[in-house]
C-alpha cells in the first residue's frame, strides 16, 4: 500500500502522457487532482494504521524489489513509513492536493494546462519518493526528481527569458547541492557498507567515533546538499529567482514541500549529525544567519512574491537552526506549520495576482481588502500566523524553536532568531498593509478587471487558513490536563509522536539532551517572542499603514498602544528604525546577493568556461599538434617512471 502513495501520481503522469489532449481540460484536472487525493487518502489510512501500533514498533516497510545487490551490499526499492515520514507524507499529499485544486482555477486559461499538471504530478511522485524512501539511494532519486521538476516548472513560461535564466540558476545551484549529497552518501557507504537508513544508523555509532573527521566530512557533505535544496546560505539565491514559475508552483515546490527536503534530510540523519558536533553547530549557525539575513532582505522587496520567497528562505533558516540546536522535532513542527501558512500566503498572493491580471508589484496595489474579501481574510490569518501571534500555528512552532535555542545555550542563535522574528512580523505586515490597506494604487486597467477568485481557488485557501489557525495545537502539551505550558517537557502531541524517531528526549534528541527550562523562564521567553512579533507589526503599521493614508493608521497606534505619540515619533521612528532596516535590506540584496553570491556563482561558471575555451585552443585541428600531445603524453609516462 505504501508503494501506491508515490505510484498513483506517477500513474497519472503516464495516463496524461498516453491519452494526451484527448483528456480535455476537465479530464486532466480530474485525473491530476484525483491521483493526489487518492494518495492523500492512502497516506492518511497508512498513518492511522501506524498510530494503532505500539510506539516502539511504529514503522511500516514496503519492499518493492531488489534494485542492485553486490555481495552483502544491497539496495532495494523500498519505502518506509515512520512517525517522521508520516508527518512529511501527510503535509506533502495534503497541501499538495489543495494546491492542485487551486491550480485548476489558477491555470484555467493557460495554454499549457496539461503540461502543467503533468509536471506537477511528476513532482508529487518525486517528492513522495523522497520522503518515503527507506534508503539513501531511493531518497536521492526523489531528490534529483524534485530538482528536475522544479527546474521544469520554474522555466514553465519558457518564452520569458528571465524564466529560463531562473531555471538555469536553480539548476546550477542544486547541482552543487547534489554533489554534496552524493559525496556524503558515498562516504557513508564507504564506512558503513550500506545505504539503508536502518543499517547506516545502526552501524554509524560503531564505525564512526563522534567528532572524527570522517563523520564530520560526511555530515558536512550532506549539509551542503541540504543547503542547496533548502536555499540556505550560501546556496539560497536561486529561490527568489524561482518565483518566475507559476504561483501554485511557488506555493507547492518553493515553499511548502521541496525546499523543506533539506530539513527533512538533516532530521532523518539526526543520529549522524549529533555524532558530529561541529556539523551540528554549523547547521545552527547557517540556519540562524539565513533566518536573520533573508528576513532583512525581505524588507526591501517590492515584488509580492519575492517578499514571500525571502520569507521562505528565512523560515527555512529557523527549521535549520532548530535542527542545529538539537531540536529536530521542533524543526519538523515548524516545517509543518510553515507548509500551511506559507502555502496559504503564496496562494493568497496568487489570488491577488490573478485578480490584478498578473501585477506583482506591491506599490501598484493597495486597498484591496474590500474588493477581495476572502483573499484578504485568509491573508490576514496567514500573516498573523507567520508573525507568531498566539494562538496561530506559527507561534507554537517558532516559540518552540526559540526556546530550544535558548535552553541549549545558543544565545547568539536565539538573539538572531528573535531579531528575525521582529523582521518577519515587519515585512509580512508591510506586505499586508501595502496590498490590502491604504488607498488603491491600481492602474486603471487592473481596476477594471479586478475580481475575487473562483470557488475552486478560494476553497483551498479557506482550508489552509483553518490549518494555519489550528495547526499549532499539535504542539500543545495535551498531557496532564494541559496545565503546564512548557513546550520542551516532552508532553506535546507531535513530540510524543516523533519520539520513536528522535529518541526519548523528545525534540531535544537522545544524545543532545537540552536542559529543561524552568516554568518562569519558559513563560518569559514566550512573552519576549510575542512582544517581538507585536513590535514588528507595530513598526510596519507605523511605516506603511499611515503612509498609505488609510484609517488604520490612526487606529493602529491605539491597537499597539506602545507607540502612540505625536507625529515626530513616527518620524524619528522612521529614521532610526525603518529606514536603516530598509537600507540595510537594500544593500544586502543589491550588494551581497547580486554581487557577492551571484558573482561567485557566475565567477565559477566564468572560470570553468574560460578553462573550456583554453582547452579548445589546444584542439587546433592539426594532426601535428595531436601527435605532439600524444608524444608528450608518452614522454610524461616514461619520465614519471624514470624520476620516481
Amino acid at each position: 500500500m505504501l508503494a501506491l502513495i508515490p505510484a498513483l501520481p506517477l500513474a497519472a503522469v503516464a495516463v496524461n502522457l498516453i491519452l494526451g489532449d484527448r483528456l480535455g481540460r476537465r479530464g486532466t484536472a480530474f485525473l491530476a487532482c484525483g491521483a493526489v487525493f487518492a494518495s492523500f487518502v492512502l497516506a492518511a489510512l497508512s498513518v492511522i494504521h501506524l498510530a494503532s501500533l505500539p510506539p516502539g514498533a511504529r514503522t511500516m516497510v514496503a519492499d518493492v524489489y531488489t534494485w542492485m545487490r553486490v555481495g552483502d551490499f544491497k539496495v532495494d526499492v523500498a519505502f518506509l513509513l515512520d512517525p517522521l515520514s508520516s508527518v512529511m507524507v501527510l503535509v506533502v499529499t495534503g497541501v499538495g492536493f489543495l494546491i492542485h485544486l487551486y491550480s485548476v482555477g489558477y491555470m484555467a486559461h493557460d495554454a499549457s494546462f496539461r503540461r502543467f499538471f503533468l509536471y506537477l504530478n511528476l513532482f508529487m511522485f518525486a517528492m513522495l519518493t523522497l520522503v518515503l524512501a527507506k534508503n539513501f539511494l531511493v531518497m536521492f532519486v526523489g531528490w534529483e526528481g524534485v530538482g528536475l521538476c522544479s527546474y521544469l516548472l520554474i522555466g514553465f513560461w519558457m518564452d520569458r527569458p528571465s524564466a529560463a535564466r531562473a531555471g538555469m540558476k536553480a539548476f546550477v545551484v542544486n547541482r552543487i547541492g547534489d554533489f554534496g549529497f552524493l559525496l556524503g552518501m558515498l562516504t557513508l557507504f564507504a564506512w558503513t557498507g550500506s545505504l539503508d537508513y536502518e543499517r547506516v544508523f545502526a552501524a554509524a555509532p560503531i564505525v564512526f567515533h563522534p567528532g572524527t573527521l570522517a563523520i564530520t566530512f560526511a555530515t558536512l557533505a550532506l549539509l551542503l546538499g541540504a543547503t542547496g535544496k533548502s536555499a540556505q546560505i550560501p546556496l539560497y539565491t536561486w529561490l527568489p529567482d524561482a518565483m518566475e514559475g507559476p504561483t501554485p508552483v511557488s506555493a507547492l515546490i518553493h515553499a511548502a514541500t521541496m525546499v523543506t527536503a533539506g530539513v527533512y534530510m538533516v532530521a532523518r540523519c539526526h543520529i549522524l549529525f549529533t555524532m558530529a558536533p561541529f556539523s551540528l553547530e554549523t547547521v545552527a549557525v547557517i540556519g540562524a544567519a539565513t533566518a536573520l539575513f533573508a528576513a532583512t532582505i525581505g524588507v526591501a522587496q517590492n515584488d509580492i512574491k519575492r517578499v514571500l520567497a525571502y520569507s521562505t528562505v528565512s523560515q527555512l533558516g529557523y527549521m535549520f537552526f532548530a535542527c542545529g540546536v538539537g531540536a529536530f522535532g521542533a524543526g519538523i513542527f515548524h516545517l509543518m506549520t510553515h507548509a500551511f501558512f506559507k502555502a496559504l500566503l503564496f496562494l493568497g498572493a496568487g489570488s491577488v495576482i490573478h485578480a490584478l491580471s498578473g501585477e506583482q508589484d506591491m506599490r501598484k496595489m493597495g486597498g484591496l481588502a474590500s474588493r477581495l474579501p476572502w483573499t484578504h481574510g485568509v491573508m490576514l490569518v496567514a500573516c498573523v500566523a507567520i508573525a507568531g501571534i498566539p494562538p496561530f500555528a506559527g507561534f507554537f512552532s517558532k516559540d518552540e524553536i526559540l526556546s530550544a535555542a535558548f535552553a541549549s545555550g545558543h544565545y547568539g542563535v536565539w538573539v538572531a532568531g528573535l531579531l528575525g522574528a521582529v523582521l518577519t512580523a515587519f515585512y509580512m505586515f508591510r506586505l499586508y498593509f501595502l496590498t490590502f490597506r491604504g488607498s488603491s494604487r491600481l492602474t486603471h486597467e487592473a481596476e477594471h478587471h479586478l475580481h475575487e477568485s473562483p470557488a475552486v481557488m478560494v476553497a483551498p485557501l479557506v482550508v489552509l487558513a483553518a490549518l494555519s489557525v489550528v495547526g499549532g495545537f499539535v504542539g500543545l502539551p495535551f498531557q496532564e490536563g494541559g496545565r503546564r505550558l512548557t513546550t520542551l517537557e516532552g508532553g506535546a502531541a507531535l513530540e510524543r509522536w516523533l519520539a520513536p524517531v528522535f529518541g526519548e528526549g523528545g525534540a531535544a534528541g537522545a544524545s543532545h539532551a537540552v536542559p529543561h527550562l524552568s516554568f518562569t523562564t519558559e513563560w518569559a521567553l514566550i512573552a519576549v517572542s510575542v512582544a517581538a512579533a507585536a513590535f514588528g507589526i507595530a513598526m510596519a503599521s507605523r511605516a506603511y499603514a499611515k503612509a498609505a493614508g488609510e484609517p488604520i493608521a490612526e487606529k493602529a497606534p491605539r491597537l499597539y498602544g506602545l507607540l502612540e505619540h505625536k507625529y515626530w515619533i513616527d518620524e524619528l521612528y522612521d529614521t532610526i528604525a525603518v529606514r536603516p532596516i530598509r537600507a540595510l535590506g537594500d544593500v544586502l540584496w543589491r550588494f551581497w546577493d547580486e554581487k557577492i553570491v551571484d558573482g561567485t556563482v557566475n565567477g565559477v561558471a566564468y572560470v570553468v568556461e574560460w578553462a573550456s575555451a583554453v582547452l579548445r585552443v589546444f584542439q587546433t585541428g592539426f594532426v601535428g599538434t595531436y601527435a605532439l600531445f600524444l608524444t608528450l603524453g608518452v614522454a610524461a609516462l616514461i619520465a614519471h617512471y624514470l624520476v620516481r
Binding site: 579548445r616 584542439q619 594532426v623 601535428g624
Partner: protein, 103 residues
C-alpha cells in the same frame, strides 16, 4: 650466423629507428611522409621482435613480424586511399593546411 652482434646493439638500432619515426611524424608536414615515418616505427618494432626472438631462442617473435607486416600492408592500402581522397577534395596533403574540424 652472426653470434658476435650483441642484443644491445640490435635494440639500439631498433630504438634509433623508432625515434626517427616518431620525430618524423612530429616534424614533417606531408601526410605521406608522416605515414612513412609511422611505417618506420612499425619496422622498428619488427626489428626488436626479431632481435628478441633470436636472443630468447623462441620463434614467437618471428611469427609476430609476419603478422605485423601483413597489418602494415593493409594499413598502406587503407591509408593511401584515405590520403588520395583528401587530396582529391582539398588538393593538398600538407597536414598543416587541413583543419576544418577543430575546437
Amino acid at each position: 650466423m652472426m653470434h658476435d652482434i650483441p642484443l644491445a646493439w640490435m635494440l639500439a638500432l631498433s630504438a634509433t629507428v623508432f625515434v626517427i619515426g616518431v620525430v618524423g611524424v612530429l616534424v614533417r608536414r606531408n601526410a605521406l611522409v608522416i605515414f612513412m615515418s609511422i611505417e618506420l616505427m612499425l619496422n622498428a618494432g619488427n626489428l626488436a621482435f626479431v632481435a628478441f626472438s633470436r636472443a630468447l631462442g623462441s620463434l614467437d617473435g618471428q611469427v609476430f613480424v609476419f603478422f605485423v607486416m601483413t597489418v602494415a600492408a593493409a594499413e598502406v592500402a587503407v591509408g593511401l586511399a584515405i590520403i588520395v581522397n583528401v587530396f582529391r577534395l582539398k588538393e593538398t596533403i600538407y597536414v598543416d593546411e587541413i583543419n576544418l574540424l577543430k575546437g
